[in-house]
Symmetry: C2
Subunit: 215 residues, 2 copies
């Protein structure tokens, strides 16, 4: 057995390799063998950490949730106002390989959770944490004067993560939906609909060729 | 074999029974036996129409797509402006048994489509049709003067169905998310962000206890 000090790190490396493989070939084609090739650890070593393929995928889900949560905490402490809010929301859009892998593994387990109560509770706890981060960013933006003060941060937060996940799902299913996301962020468009007039006016100066018809 | 004239009708009855069973017990627990009990047709008769359980589920998906498309066409021809738009969008929220069944079966096949190209193409075609209906409703609302005229109907349409599907997914996974949807329609809130000032002002007169903090 590896030393304790290395144990968590090695587990994390294996989960990161699983996410890399998932970005490349999708969840359905991600195998222990593929992760072994990618990570450099043998299938035997991987077997010390994960008892089967499903257990490895679950490790990937939890690693994705950890990366997501760390991203949100970092954005909240380093950015302000609308920038923090938009960066948190865009952290869950499949716009690069890492985020594509995260979207894929989350979606896979959402489907599993529809008929597995224990898994559903785990997914629910991730959604609660995500909503809480987004609501905190909304309140900070309200205090900074970027967003309308009378809006309910909890409800707006739940809606915005709904928007993000729906757009991410469609982007995974339809290349034209992904192409549109890459062109201009819908998140920015919708968040600006809640801005105070000064912020909304600043936004109008930014060209948004996707949502606005050019006269 | 049943007469041709009855064939389509019987098939539809079986698919409707599958949707009823799906609303009650979920896709994973929907079986040919359960559909036989519900529809009154024997498992043998069901076997004439669907070669196995997966084929029956696919029948349910296509029936759901048909119901959805008929709903959209009906709303476009009987309602106007924002009402038509909101009714089309709410047709895909899991707010009653029939719509819950539709959301469940669509979600099940979205997950399948992630690793089945033929199915993905079928799902993509449903998304294209849905976007087209919503874009038509947006243009009608623009012509009526309910929505800002400079908005791009295609993009707004893609975003709004993203919002609907994300909210529906979260409602299926998290009872608190469903309870919130039942309290006040987020669709109405976000669509009104795109209204012309007169329409938006009318909306402010409507109490929305969910999105607005009462002073």
């Amino acid at each position: 057995m590896p030393r304790i000090v290395d144990h968590d790190e090695r587990r994390r490396q294996i989960c990161d390799a699983l996410l890399d493989v998932t970005a490349e070939v999708g969840v359905a084609s991600a195998t222990i063998r593929g992760v072994a090739e990618r990570s450099g650890w043998s299938t035997g070593v991987i077997g010390h950490f994960f008892k089967n393929r499903k257990d490895l995928l679950l490790g990937g889900l939890r690693r994705a949730a950890e990366i997501h949560s760390e991203h949100n905490t970092r954005m909240l402490s380093t950015l302000e106002g609308l920038q923090a809010l938009e960066s948190i929301l865009e952290g869950a859009m499949p716009l690069d390989r890492r985020r594509l892998a995260m979207c894929r593994i989350f979606f896979f387990f959402y489907a599993e959770a529809m008929c597995d109560e224990q898994l559903r509770l785990e997914i629910e706890s991730y959604l609660v944490g995500w909503r809480r981060s987004v609501a905190r960013a909304i309140r900070q933006a309200q205090e900074k004067g970027d967003l309308q003060p009378h809006l309910d941060a909890r409800s707006i937060s739940a809606d915005l993560i709904g928007l993000v996940e729906g757009l991410a799902t469609h982007a995974m299913l339809d290349p034209s939906a992904l192409a549109r996301l890459q062109e201009f962020s819908p998140i920015r468009f919708w968040v600006r609909r809640l801005a105070l007039p000064s912020e909304a006016a600043r936004d109008d100066a930014i060209s948004d060729p996707v949502h606005q018809v050019v006269a």
